[in-house]
Amino acid sequence: MKIIVCIKQVPDTTEIKLDPVTGTLIRDGVPSIMNPDDKGGLEYALQLKDQYGAEVTVITMGPPQADDILREAMAMGADRAILLTDRKFAGADTLATSKALAGALKELEYDLIIAGRQAIDGDTAQVGPEIAEWLDLPQISYVEGLEYDGKKTLTVRKQTEEGYQVCKVDTPCLLTVLASANKARYMTVGGICDAYGKEVEVWTADKIKVDPSELGLSGSPTKVKKSFTKGAKAAGKVFEVDEKEAVELIINKLKEKYII
């Protein structure tokens, strides 16, 4: 079984804080991490490797420093890593991103493609299903459980608003996975040493058979017209009082607003 996991390097948005004066984001010094849902997807792939000897390839599209998360993935147990990087990919929206990734995936063999449900820096959840469309694969998103019969069929637990569904799909197919679905393993010391001994394959736009007009900014139907910070709402009053006074203040406020 050959599995490819699509991963993304993202800023650790839980570390992003607001400047209390200007209301803008403080991004300086924010560390980069492997996107959590992608890591959950990688964990499933590695479990299938443990059980069935699957071969696991990780791929990312991003700037050269995205090498870090590919090495981390190899230290966790991935066999092969591909970095898709080229200035021609810059400014890509989800559609152009998915085109480039699908172009690279077409150069590879796979039975199963796994992506994270969404990346924490954009939260769109679009690239996985878009790749599935380009590759004409059935997709199941919001996966929180996975079993393989060792031959061809996957039984998948898919999260829904009301609970979950149990779905069956044959390979080849594409799944998008939730980080909460499993607990990703840690890198091992041996794995870290190996990961830095192994090669990360670097692919540029020339390696994939996608028309350059479909890549990057020129291949992106959506464009950011403007971005702006939301004017910070005027903060209310903050009281440092004992609990008796606090209760009085709160009750008066609720009365003032006709809530009680």
Partner: protein, 331 residues
Amino acid sequence: MNIADYKNVYVFAEQREGKIQNVALELLGKARDLADALNEKVCAVLLGSGIKDLAATLIAHGADEVLLVDDPSLDVYTTEPYAQAIKAVVDAKKPGILLLGATTIGRDLGPRLAARMQTGLTADCTELDIEAETRHLMMTRPAFGGNLLATIMCTDHRPQMSTVRPGVMMAKPADAARKGTVEDFKVNFDRSKFRVKVEKVVKEQKNLVDITAAKVLVSGGRGVGSAEGFKKLEALAQVLGGEVSSSRAMVDAGVTEHARQVGQTGKTVRPDLYFALGISGAIQHLAGMEGADLIIAVNKDKFAPIFEVADMGIVGDLHKIVPALTAALKK
């Protein structure tokens, strides 16, 4: 593509088990405003099996036309039958705008369709407007948890597609006197492509709570500590006739379930009253609750960012204040 051929505002009228989802009605409300600005029609696309009776509700909430695709393969949602049905509608009708709810269904279907139609899709929009001069759709969405907003446009491709999270737009009140048409739309499905089988649909009681409908939310974060602490919040919610909700920290800690999570990866809420108790106020959380009318925050840390958005902040110990408040309200 001649974009001038593409007209009217289409809404994916999501139903589950024969129940129209609130988000579909909210989208119809926004679609009505957009269509009126463009002097065009609102069309609802209703997919399912045996769901004809739902069309009247869609008309009452703002649809001029309902396109009904009724097929057994559309009974329980899977991607491909739904994608084929909407693609067929788009090919035939050429919509200018197509809106979907950012539900687990809409977020699965939207990108599959966008790729199939080679158009753009903007996720989780919080504002939708028409640019007067160009008549293009302006799609505004939060980035990095809500403080930075970006307005995105899709000027050269049609339809212009957006998803909107439940609770963000306002539905218009039902007007039973509104008139509209219902069209039985026939789709020639390629059933060989239906490759995902749903074997079992399981409902979990814990997921059935709808915090977006609550007028009062008593929300707890890391400062609540444990399930024991959370009980104090439940008691307060009970006297106020509200629900308990939480930040992500409490869900990750297993104290409460994801259905109660407020924020970027949880729900967007706009209750009359939101108690933020022991919630520091990460921007991901603020994105989900800053639309509340009245926000009262209690936190030990006087520098907690939650105080930046609270209407009233109390620096103190929620474990003392909450039970005292509950007791006082009971009187």
